[in-house]
């Protein structure tokens, strides 16, 4: 009897568990567990014919090897450079398009968004092969340009959609107010539209930058021998070199690098947004 008052809360708690348990279990089983397996694999020895040497053979050889050769750092740096260039190009190309879609009459907007996502209807590899056909005759195939062009092409919709979603929500009265208070069209953009679209720019950048880092198909099909990126490297360790510990170690380094970058970007963004405003 004395505990009666807690009764109404109980069903809510229970239903919360019922709802959140399946995805939690899913993530534990298919995300956290494999990640831990990769960590474990990076600390073991490669098997004679691929795979891993039988337990308990283990060593830090993979990491020693990784940090011992400058070539890995170079590939990391190149990968980050490609990812950054792709992201930047995507912003530059996607912004006017997203803005245009957001400004279109409501009915045309849906059609334009559909056109943006339409390429997903055809197979990714087929589209990359189409680029081979396009770039080959122009003598651009197997160059860094081809890699970046392919990367931008593949990831552009991931920049357009979050930007569009953001720009579409902007209150047109804000631009009128800015104009009314003396701002030219250009100033309106830089002082009002762009700062307000930064959340869209950030989420679009995350959706482009991170997948580009791990992408191996585009550089493999469109790039030359000098254009391999981390993704190719990791794939090679597993499929060709049969050095699973090294592949695992590379995967972990990539994950750590991405998390560190995303974390510091989020921190800088939060800091920056508040910092600039406190000045005036």
């Amino acid at each position: 009897m004395p505990k009666l008052e807690v009764m109404p809360a109980a069903p809510v708690d229970r239903s919360k568990w019922v709802v959140t348990l399946p995805p939690t279990l899913f993530l534990l089983a298919f995300f956290l567990a494999p990640a831990l397996i990769v960590v474990a694999a990076s600390l073991r020895e490669p098997g004679e014919f691929g795979g891993l040497a039988p337990w308990p053979a283990h060593s830090f050889d993979a990491y020693r090897f990784l940090f011992g050769d400058i070539i890995y750092l170079e590939i990391f740096v190149r990968s980050f450079f490609v990812a950054a260039s792709t992201t930047l190009l995507c912003i530059v190309l996607a912004y006017p398009l997203a803005w245009l879609i957001a400004r279109s009459p409501a009915r045309r907007r849906d059609l334009l968004v559909l056109l943006v996502i339409l390429p997903f209807a055809s197979n990714f590899l087929v589209r990359i092969y189409a680029w081979i056909m396009l770039l080959g005759p122009a003598n651009l195939l197997y160059t860094p340009f081809a890699v970046i062009a392919g990367m931008v092409y593949v990831h552009l919709p991931f920049m357009i959609l979050p930007l569009y979603t953001n720009l579409e929500k902007h209150d047109p009265a804000l631009l009128e107010a800015a104009q009314d208070l003396g701002a030219s069209a250009w100033t309106c953009f830089w002082r009002v539209t762009f700062p307000l679209s930064l959340p869209g720019v950030f989420s679009g950048s995350a959706l482009v930058f991170i997948p580009v880092l791990g992408m191996f198909a585009v550089p493999e099909l469109l790039g030359g021998t000098g254009d391999i990126l981390i993704g190719n490297l990791i794939k090679e360790q597993f499929l060709e070199n049969r050095d699973w510990p090294l592949g695992s170690a590379l995967s972990i380094m990539l994950t750590v690098a991405v998390l560190a970058l995303a974390g510091s970007a989020a921190w800088a963004a939060r800091k920056g947004l508040h910092g600039t405003e406190a000045v005036t």
């Binding site: 209150d171 009265a173 804000l174 107010a177 208070l181 700062p195 405003e277």
Partner: protein, 361 residues
């Protein structure tokens, strides 16, 4: 010379005329209000003054110079928007500094003027806060400060108090009047609230369906409306269909069907037999017991149909013999008003000869 002159402007949207041949002249330092129901064209006029829209015909002149072709950012006037349109990514101070930055003022001047203007609207302590952290009334003040800070020739206000609750609205009205007097900037105010218009303005233009129906000082608009629409839209009023029975110099005899003759005054020469309306404010009517006699020219008997006790006043709805229901507002504070007329009581409604207004159709 008038500060703002609007000459015969017409604006058409897809087959309908939102503004029809409007001519207005607004003097420097004036608090001018465009009053009308929604869709009457008042906001369209404001947008044309601001430069967001352009008239199809006619011209708008500021200080004698045509504004045709001048983009909004080049016009020396600012707007306070109904939604406030504060920049959400800037602080209060950042918002207020914006027009000064656009005008390329020096850093020192910006800092000084922002501080002055925030003090003017009592928001000094909110300078570093963001719009989403403010209450409705505070946002309203930021919008006003932003509009005033660069001392525009003209401040346009588009229903700026519409989003506030009733009590705050009255407070802001008082502040607006004081503010306008203090800064001396010409205000062009748009509202659909007749109470707001009467309380704030030096002059009011009442609009209907794209036209200005009457443009006058608040008291003149209230006591001498020139047509049915204005009489009905501004304040509470009794409107009776009448026919002119006799007209001599200033005296007018009006015949209301089934009621008899109403004595009124009108200096205009009016033809006998003309049809129009007799407009009478409820507060100018006295309600007496039907046996009481009153020394007033107009006296009609009826029966109390409804009464609303409103505290300071009581509103009586009295049904006259011709079925017309007349509204009368009686102050409760007057001596001898302790006793009310009850519903169903036979009463007499009386008013002075010069109390009402004859409106031509």
């Amino acid at each position: 010379m008038a500060l703002l002159e609007i000459r015969n402007i017409t604006r058409r949207f897809a087959g309908f005329e939102a503004v029809k041949d409007v001519t207005l002249s607004i003097a420097a330092g004036e608090f001018f209000t465009l009053l009308g129901p929604s869709g009457c064209g008042k906001t369209t006029i404001l947008r044309m003054i601001a430069g967001f829209d352009a008239p199809d015909e006619g011209d708008i002149l500021l200080d004698g110079q045509s504004l045709a072709g001048v983009p909004p950012e080049k016009r020396p006037l600012h707007t306070v928007f109904q939604s406030y349109a504060l920049f959400p990514h800037m602080t209060v101070a950042g918002n207020v500094a914006f027009p000064l930055e656009m005008a390329n003022r020096s850093r020192d001047e910006i800092r000084r003027r922002v501080a002055e203007t925030l003090a003017l609207v009592h928001l000094t302590d909110k300078a570093a806060q963001f719009p989403h952290e403010l209450s409705g009334g505070q946002k309203q003040r930021v919008a006003l400060a932003r509009g005033l800070v660069n001392k525009p020739r003209l401040l346009l206000l588009d229903e700026p108090l519409g989003a506030l609750d009733a009590k705050l609205r009255v407070e802001m009205q008082v502040e607006l009047i004081a503010l306008q007097r203090e800064v001396g900037i010409t205000f062009v105010f748009v509202t659909h609230s007749q109470q707001e218009a009467l309380a704030l303005s030096h002059r009011i233009g009442v609009m209907r369906e794209g036209r200005i129906e009457q443009c006058d000082e608040p008291d003149k608009l209230y006591t001498q409306p020139t047509n049915r629409f204005v009489a009905d839209f501004v304040g509470r009023i009794n409107l009776m269909d009448v026919e002119v029975a006799a007209s001599s110099k200033v005296l007018l005899k009006l015949k209301a069907a089934g009621l008899g003759e109403i004595a009124a005054t009108d200096p205009r020469p009016i033809a006998v037999g003309e049809r129009g309306a007799f407009a009478l404010r409820p507060e100018l009517i006295r309600v007496f017991g039907h046996r009481e006699s009153a020394d007033l020219k107009n006296r009609f008997e009826g029966r109390v149909k409804e009464l609303l006790y409103l505290g300071d006043v009581t509103l009586y709805k009295v049904e006259l013999q011709n079925g017309f229901i007349v509204e009368a507002l009686m102050p409760n504070a007057a001596s001898g008003r302790a006793k009310f007329h009850e519903v169903g009581d036979p009463v007499a409604v009386c008013w002075r000869q010069d109390a009402g207004v004859y409106l031509r159709n």
